[in-house]
Every structure is written in C-alpha cells, then in structure tokens.
C-alpha cells in the first residue's frame, strides 16, 4: 500500500536534518511550506515543511513542548483567537492556502475536523451533539439529519452502544464513548481531514484500542493526522511518522522505516526511550 506511493528515497541525504519526502501533488492533502509560528515572539515552530498524504494516517511524535500540538492547531487555525501568535510560511489544504484572506475560517474548520485530548462533548443529548455541526450548515430535512447522525455514529463505532439512548445527555457516557462521540460529531460534517490531538491519552486501554481501530478504519474515508506520546500507538496505527523536536522537523518517513531504521541518532534515541 505504501509502496504504491511515489516518493523520494528516504535517507538519500544524511546532512539534511529535516526530512526529505515528497508526494506528488495528487497524493498530498496538506502541504506545509516553511511554516513558522511564535507565541509572543517566542518561536514554537521553525521553518517546517512537510506533506501529509491523502487517505493515510500520519503521526506526529516528539517530546512535550516540541510543537506537534501547535502544528495541529495551526492546521485548524485555532490560533486565530490568540493575538500574541505570529506566523510565517504557509499551509495549503488541497492546494489552497488556509490563511488566504478570502478563505472562510468556519468552512476551513468544517473541512478540517479536530478531536482534542480530553473528550469535550457539548452539554446536550447524544443526538444533538452529533447534529450540532449539521445544524450549523442550515436547514436539513429531519429524515436526512437522522440518517447522517446514524451514519456518523456507526462510522465512529458507537451506534450499537447508544442507539437506545440517543436523547440522553452526552455527559452520561464513559470517557471512551465520549471520545468516540466527539469523533462521530466531527465525522457528521464530512470533513476531508481529521486532526487527532492525543485522542486516547485520557482513556483506559480498552477504549484506546477501540479508538485505534477506529482510526485505521477511517482512513478509507479521509486523511488523518494523529499527535501522540505513545510510540506503540504511532507504530500501530500510522502509515507515516514525523518526529518533531524543539519546533523543528527532525525526521519524516514511512512509519516502518522511521521506527525500525531511523536515519538519525536523535530519532532513534527518542523512539527507544534513551532521551535525556
């Protein structure tokens, strides 16, 4: 499957610290070009360039504070509300700059869904949570909305557990169910990209397994970007892995080769847990 992707041979140039991996434009969903971000003048991301392939799971790994969550939030433009953030470079979604002035932020966020570390269902019924994004898009026949809600819950592997209590408060669900509900809520608006910011770190092992299985199943429908602290998780679910450190991209490549045969010593140290 990965072999079918045209790509430049990884490890061709060891002197280049940043990864060299290019997809043909038809295969790449997100193009991050020389992207830098600073909070109140303190750089958090520095000259990042990478491409995220379509319909694959790409994992961002790295130590705390390396900027992986910042990058994820930047793709969803969640930094807009923070006035102290300054940006340079660009991020393109399907060839269009997401910071372009004529771009509608709400529309961007509909196309780029995001799931956060802690489940954040709204204080409404399960049904209303999933229908929230649909209602934002204007009127829709109830029948169609019901169908979409059911489809989203089924896609998130939650339907069987909640179909009898759709109108109960979402806050009565367990943590793992809540996280799958949040994923269903995001899927309901049919995004092209799903950003997952440590989606399983607050969950028990069984819920974590369910989420991972869900991530693997979803890549047939959309592009997933996963931020995780869990090396095994990255190895289990992702097709490509980017290792970030200190706001810079250290290594990026197919997950197999990053984990089994990292080009750089820094990457190997981190993956094997030998980092100071």
């Amino acid at each position: 499957m990965q072999a079918s992707l045209p790509k430049s041979a990884p490890g061709s140039s060891a002197s280049d610290s940043a990864a060299v991996m290019h997809f043909a434009t038809t295969e790449s969903c997100l193009d991050i070009n020389d992207f830098s971000l600073a909070y109140a003048g303190v750089p958090a991301l520095q000259h990042l360039s990478l491409q995220v392939p379509r319909h694959r799971v790409t994992a961002f790994i790295g130590p705390s504070g390396c900027g992986k969550s910042t990058l994820l939030r930047a793709i969803n433009r969640l930094h807009d509300l923070n006035e102290s953030v300054t940006l340079s470079g660009n991020i393109q979604l399907e060839g269009r700059d997401i910071h372009a002035p004529q771009l509608n932020v709400a529309e961007l966020r509909r196309r780029v869904g995001m799931v956060f570390q802690n489940p954040n269902p709204f204080p409404m019924s399960i049904y209303e949570n999933v229908a929230f994004g649909l209602r934002l898009q204007g009127r829709m026949p109830k029948r169609k909305r019901d169908d979409t809600v059911e489809w989203a819950l089924q896609s998130a592997a939650l339907w069987e557990e909640v179909k009898d209590r759709l109108y109960r408060s979402a806050w009565t669900l367990s943590g793992g169910q809540q996280q799958r509900l949040v994923i269903a809520r995001t899927l309901a608006v049919r995004p092209d990209v799903l950003l997952l910011d440590e989606p399983a770190s607050a969950l028990d092992p069984i819920s974590t397994l369910k989420i991972e299985e869900l991530i693997r199943n979803l890549k047939s429908q959309l592009t997933l970007v996963l931020v995780t602290h869990n090396m095994q998780q990255a190895a289990r679910v992702s097709d490509y892995t980017a290792f970030l450190q200190g706001g810079e991209l250290v290594e990026y490549g197919p997950t197999d080769s990053v984990f089994t045969n990292p080009r750089l010593q820094r990457t190997e140290n981190y993956i094997t847990g030998r980092m100071a």
């Binding site: 966020r109 869904g113 956060f116 409404m124 994004g133 934002l136 898009q137 809520r185």
Partner: protein, 484 residues
C-alpha cells in the same frame, strides 16, 4: 506549651466557625419568628376583656402588652379599647393593681367600621324601617344583613367592580337601617349599618370560627387596598407594585448585564483597560443605593422624563407625565443598581466554561457568534440566573432610591389595569418596603400600625423568597436539562 496551644487552636477553630454559623442561623430564626408571631398574630381574633377599675370605671378591649409603671413599682397593661368616637382614643393604659375584676363576656361585640375605626361594646338593637330587634335576635339580624350585603357585593359584579369593597353598603339598604350600640360604660350610639364592614363576638367564637376569622383577616390584608392613612386595610397595591417593579427591573437588567459580561469575557482584549473596567464594575456594586436614586432623579426623571414631556406630552404641561417619578424610572434606577451583580455573576459563569467547549464548537465550523449563542450562552444560563436571583433579592428590598424616583405613599391608580395601554409606566406605584417605612413612622397611630409593619415585613421577606425560589427552581431545571 506552644505546641499545646497550637494544638488547642487547631481543635478550636472548627468549633468557632460552627458557633458563628449557629449564631447567624439563630438570629435569622429569631427575625423570622418575630415577624411571624407579631405579624400573623395581629390577625388572630383576641378575646375582649371587660375590666372594672378601682375608681369604678369600666373598660373593654384587647390586652396588648404590659410595661413597668413609670413612677412607682408595679406594672401597667395596655388595652386596645377602640371607640375613638366616644373616648377620643383607641388605647388605654391601666395599672395592674387598679384592676378589680376581669371577665370575658360572650355578648361583647367588635364592629369594624368605615369611619372612627373599631367599636367595642354591646349590641342593643337593630332598627330597620319596619321593625326593631333586640337581644340575640338583633345579633342574628345583624349577621344576616351583613351576609346578605356580602352576597350582593360578590354576586353582582357591576357594583363590586366599581371597586372599593371597603366602602360597602351603597347599593344595599341606603342608610335606613341602623344599630343601637352601647359601650361597656353604658354610653349609647346610633350606628348606620352601611358603615359596618364586619361584626364579631370574639369571646363567643369557637376555634373553627377563630381560624376562619383569622384567615379572612389575612386574606383581606393581602387582597385589599390600604385605608385610614395606611394604618389599616390591606397591602395589595404594594404587593403588586413591588412584584411588577422587580419583574420590569429584571427584564431591563438581564440583557444589559449579560451583554456586558459577554463583551468583557469573550470579546474584549484582555488587557489593562479591561481589567480596569472589571474593577470599576465590581466597585459599582458598593455605591450606596441612595446615590443611584439621586442619579435616577437627575438623569431619568428630570433629564429624560422632562424631555419626553416636552416632546410628546406638551399639552398636559406643566403637570408632568414622565417628568416625575414613576414605575419606569424606578425600574431603570434599580436595574442600574443591580447591573454589577448580574455582570459579575455572568462573567464568573462564562469563565467557568472550559475552553475545550469553545474550541470544540469552532472546530466543527461554528462562527464565533454561533459558538456564543449555541454553546457558551446556554452553558452560562444558570450563572446568569444566579445573577438575576441576586439582583431580584437586592432590588425587592431597596427603598431609599425608590423614594426619589417613583414610589408613592398611596398610589391612586394601579400601574397595570384594563385601560389602554394597560401597563402605565409613568404612574407612581406602591412598594412594600416604602409601605413599611411609611406605616411605621408616618401614620397617625403608630401603635395601631405596628402589627401591620411586622406583617408587611413578613410579606416582603416571603415575596423575595418566592421570587428567588422561582429562579432557583428554573436554574435547577436548566442544569438538569443539560445533564450536569
């Protein structure tokens, strides 16, 4: 030693705090029981004592209270003897050692009259154009007449709607039936029937009748307008005025307070200026209420009201329409007074909403407005209600500013009636708090008004309680609906 002291202190402070809680609760209980006993007890039909004094004088009335004699050892007792038309006074102090006999004869009657207040004494006869009834037959006849008249008043809305059930009898037996009554000293008087509201024999009543009479008196207190310069009658216009003013105030203060809080918490850049504004708002809550009254008088009444009069009501000038205190200005002034409370409470509610909820909504493609109206505001609704509860509690008890901007001792018309445009915002209104103040200090007979003061105070507490409970119930319902 020091360690032991420290240890003792460690054990002492929970007790200290518990004691202060207990003390506060005790004071609260004392306050409420004082109001309940003095306020509600007033309506209980007390027995009438007939007292013979050492000098041969005979008096009759309710024993009210006792006090030490001013000039020699011993006590004296205050009697409510009524009969202002005969004695010139409603009250009489009697030294206890001057009392020779006390009895409670069953035939003593208490008449509630439209003029001269109550009468205490005996019924001698009922005289109609056709007949003259005496003794027990007279009492029966009087009861029958009064019942008939009440039935007419209740059954014929045309006469009842002209209102004023406290000027009874106009439509029935116009002045040609009268009673002959006699005080316990034997002085007689002719008493026109139409002048009498009620007649009772408190000493001859059973427990059931007592309760019935008490209930009737409480109901009249709640449902009728005041009379005898607020020392008698009921407080209905004041209840109505208070509740209406508080409701209007809530309607005015909620949108402003909530919008201000949203701006401060969600929209404004969180810098030094915002912090200053926030401190300012919090300090506004501490400004004495009379200052708001002065502001309301100067800006709302004279400023805006005066201009409104010049523009729209110039034909009635110089008599002012909006240029004088009224319901609208009073509500606005109190809305201003309670604005900080609503802002602070709402802001605290907004600050408690996790950013994850806001980001969750944004990440689904909600605009900022959609995020606010669909997620943030519903989640902050309980906090807003808390603010409104606090505002209502404060506004319902506030009297000082109202005296400047619209409250009246006796409002001639209710602010809400069947006359277009139904809600008369320019009218003056009555208010329970001001009614208490006025009744307690400005009546002709403070002694008579005092129980009404307690009763009115109790009522004011109860109204605030009911308003608060309603809001608390609403908040609880909202929280349950949201599942937290």
């Amino acid at each position: 030693m020091i360690q032991r002291l420290a240890k003792n202190r460690d054990e002492a402070w929970p007790w200290l705090s518990a004691a202060s809680v207990a003390l506060s609760l005790l004071m609260l209980a004392a306050l409420m029981s004082l109001l309940v006993v003095r306020g509600l007890g007033h309506f209980w039909p007390a027995p009438i004592e007939e007292v013979t004094l050492a000098d041969g004088q005979v008096i009759a009335g309710h024993a009210v209270r006792e006090a030490p004699l001013p000039d020699r050892p011993g006590h004296e007792r205050l009697y409510y003897t009524a009969n202002r038309d005969l004695d010139g006074a409603l009250w009489q102090w009697v030294a206890l050692d001057a009392i020779q006999t006390r009895s409670t004869p069953a035939d003593l009657v208490l008449l509630d009259r439209a003029s001269w207040g109550d009468f205490v004494g005996r019924l001698v006869a009922v005289v109609t154009p056709n007949e003259r009834l005496e003794g027990e037959a007279a009492w029966q006849a009087l009861q029958q007449h009064l019942n008939q008249r009440n039935a007419v008043a209740n059954g014929a809305p045309s006469s009842a709607a002209s209102g004023d059930s406290h000027v009874p009898g106009d439509t029935y037996l116009p002045g040609d039936t009268y009673l002959i009554v006699e005080s316990v000293e034997g002085r007689r008087r002719q008493q026109p029937l139409h002048d009498i509201h009620r007649a009772q024999r408190p000493n001859a009543m059973s427990m059931g009748e007592n309760i019935q009479t008490w209930g009737g008196a409480v109901w009249r207190f709640l449902s009728q307008g005041p009379r005898a310069a607020n020392t008698g009658g009921g407080v209905w216009p004041a209840i109505f005025g208070t509740v209406l003013m508080v409701l209007l105030m809530s309607l005015l203060v909620t949108p402003f307070g909530v919008l201000a809080a949203i701006y401060l918490n969600e929209i404004a850049h969180q810098g030094r200026l915002t912090r200053l504004v926030r401190i300012g708002v919090r300090n506004l809550a501490g400004v004495p209420s009379i200052v708001y009254g002065v502001f309301g008088l100067g800006v709302f009444v004279y400023g805006i009201g005066g201009s409104l009069d010049e523009w729209f009501f110039s034909d009635t000038l110089p008599s002012p329409t909006f240029g004088t205190g009224g319901l609208l200005w009073a509500s606005l002034t109190l809305a201003l007074l309670t604005l900080p409370v609503v802002i602070v409470a709402t802001e605290e509610g907004l600050a408690r909403i996790p950013d994850a909820q806001r980001e969750g909504a944004l990440a689904l493609g909600a605009t900022r407005l959609e995020m606010l109206t669909r997620i943030v505001l519903p989640m902050a609704a309980p906090a807003m209600l808390t603010g409104v509860i606090l505002a209502v509690a404060r506004a319902a008890g506030e009297v000082a500013p109202l005296m400047l901007v619209g409250v009246a001792k006796l409002a001639p018309q209710m602010p809400l009636d069947g006359e277009f445009p139904y809600l008369h915002l320019e009218r003056k209104f009555m208010h329970l708090g001001y009614h208490i103040f006025d009744t307690a200090f400005h009546g002709e007979d403070v002694q008579a008004a005092l129980p009404l003061v307690y009763a009115t105070a109790l009522l004011l507490v109860l109204i605030v309680l009911v308003l608060n409970l309603t809001a608390i119930f609403l908040r609880h319902h909202l929280r349950r609906e949201r599942g937290n």
